[in-house]
Symmetry: C2
Subunit: 259 residues, 2 copies
DNA sequence: AACCAATGGTTCACATAATGAACCATCAAG
DNA sequence: CTTGATGGTTCATTATGTGAACCATTGGTT
């Protein structure tokens, strides 16, 4: 692995539960040598990608990433395009909606909207990394990703986030086949207990899957009516978002008209 | 310079006018060897920091930066804190407002708001890199930055963006002194012709300057009334934003009450 | 068709730059 | 006044990055 990859892989250890990481922790998390981590973080800091907090001496992400993200949005305005779609979908379904995007071999939830209707709702945080096998979004992506990618994901050990999480690769493959048939994925309690999620894939201009659009509802609110209404609204919203970003569905993608 | 710094410095060549860069262009822009640029970009691509466009083979920023930016906002929610302040300041002044943040030795405009009142307004793009000597925001930052930083900035050649741009370091130093006295900076046509800008610095918890809050108006609309109203509203908004992000003004900062 | 000047991509001898075990300084707790 | 954390530093070893020169492809010119 090149030095640049090593340095950037250090950034993968930052997440919502670990916004600040000290040198020793980062050394342990990465498995690298302490001196190496120290120098790499020093270089990342010079470039403003991370910054060191005065008192604690721990590191957090730096201001430079904001500029890069703004330019990414200028290139591919998928987040801004998603906001309206998410808001309308939340209003239509009365539930929390979110958009997740593929980032290499990770799937991260990057934008969300809450419905005003209910006091209880599924809460979301942006930049949360989702599992492929335990979330509707992950399954929706796997259903339309390269077979080699699916194999790579299922070759890794499948973590059980809840007692309901499916960790048998065979079962997950069966779910993927079902997703390919319907064009929509479901997960009941696979990531968070008591959450029933639906998700549809989003495609880019090259017909490759970019991520997924999802509706997450408390299981208690999944009435028979919602079981019909949510997939319908979601499939329409997914097609709309794919369209708005100049994306094209693959030829065999079921648009839900036959569902 | 370390390899990591070299790789990350390639990213500085992306901006609003150059969202996609080919290998040869990037080689020229960076002054590095073509093979080096090729390998570095390959590594950045592996990590999702950049991605290569199929047809053109040129590079653009990748999806990974969105995740990093979301986490940065979770650590230091300066952009989300700024949005309300910007909107209210735009409404109060009737002009375009924007926030710029220091990113190492660069100042980038990262968030803005337009006023609904007028058909003509100063247009802004996020992630635009501002000059220190030719913008009110830049001068506001220099006025409260480390003296060594000011020296470094003024040691570089000062580019003239417009015929009105001040490029004499002596004159700029005089302007900085004035900024330190008043707590507010001005620039008339120093970056874009026909634009009169005011700016105030924003401070972090360690009393260091983080960036600047600015109001940009067409020179034609800078009436005597506005010349009083804009600085007043801007200084109040600047203090409010510094406060909202947990920042503290340095002890000698003029709050405008004596202006 | 032959030519030229671009482009992106690849090779390999060479030298620079990264590595990691061991080190020091500091701190807080026992 | 140990013990075990932490962040930070050193330096001999070697792995890694480098760049001149190369190839392949494309698109425009004569």
């Amino acid at each position: 692995m090149g030095t640049v990859s090593k340095a950037l892989s250090l950034l993968t250890h930052f997440n919502h539960g670990r916004l600040e990481i000290g040198l020793s922790d980062l050394t342990r998390l990465s498995g690298m040598n302490k001196a190496t981590v120290y120098r790499l973080m020093g270089e990342l800091q010079e470039q403003g990608v991370v910054e060191q907090i005065e008192e604690a001496r721990s590191y957090r992400l730096g201001p430079q990433v904001l500029r890069l993200a703004a330019l990414r949005e200028a290139s591919v305005p998928i987040l801004s395009a998603s906001r309206r779609v998410l808001r309308e979908l939340s209003e239509a379904t009365g539930e929390t909606t979110h958009l997740s995007l593929l980032q290499g071999d990770q799937l991260a939830s990057l934008s969300h909207a809450y419905a005003p209707q209910h006091a209880t709702k599924v809460m979301m945080e942006d930049a949360e990394v989702l599992t492929f096998h335990g979330t509707a979004s992950g399954l929706a992506v796997l259903g339309f990703a390269e077979p080699a990618f699916v194999d790579a994901v299922l070759a890794r050990p499948l973590e059980a986030r809840t007692p309901q999480t499916q960790t048998d690769p065979q079962v997950v493959r069966a779910q993927i086949t079902e997703v390919q048939r319907c064009g929509i994925a479901q997960s009941v309690g696979g990531f968070e207990a008591e959450v029933h999620s639906h998700a549809v894939p989003i495609f880019g201009p090259d017909r490759a899957v970019l991520g997924a659009l999802a509706v997450a509802a408390p299981t208690s609110r999944m009435s028979a009516a919602q079981r019909v209404a949510i997939p319908q609204a979601l499939q329409a919203a997914g097609l709309a978002l794919t369209h708005r970003i100049g994306g094209v569905c693959p030829p065999h993608f079921p648009t839900g008209l036959a569902a």
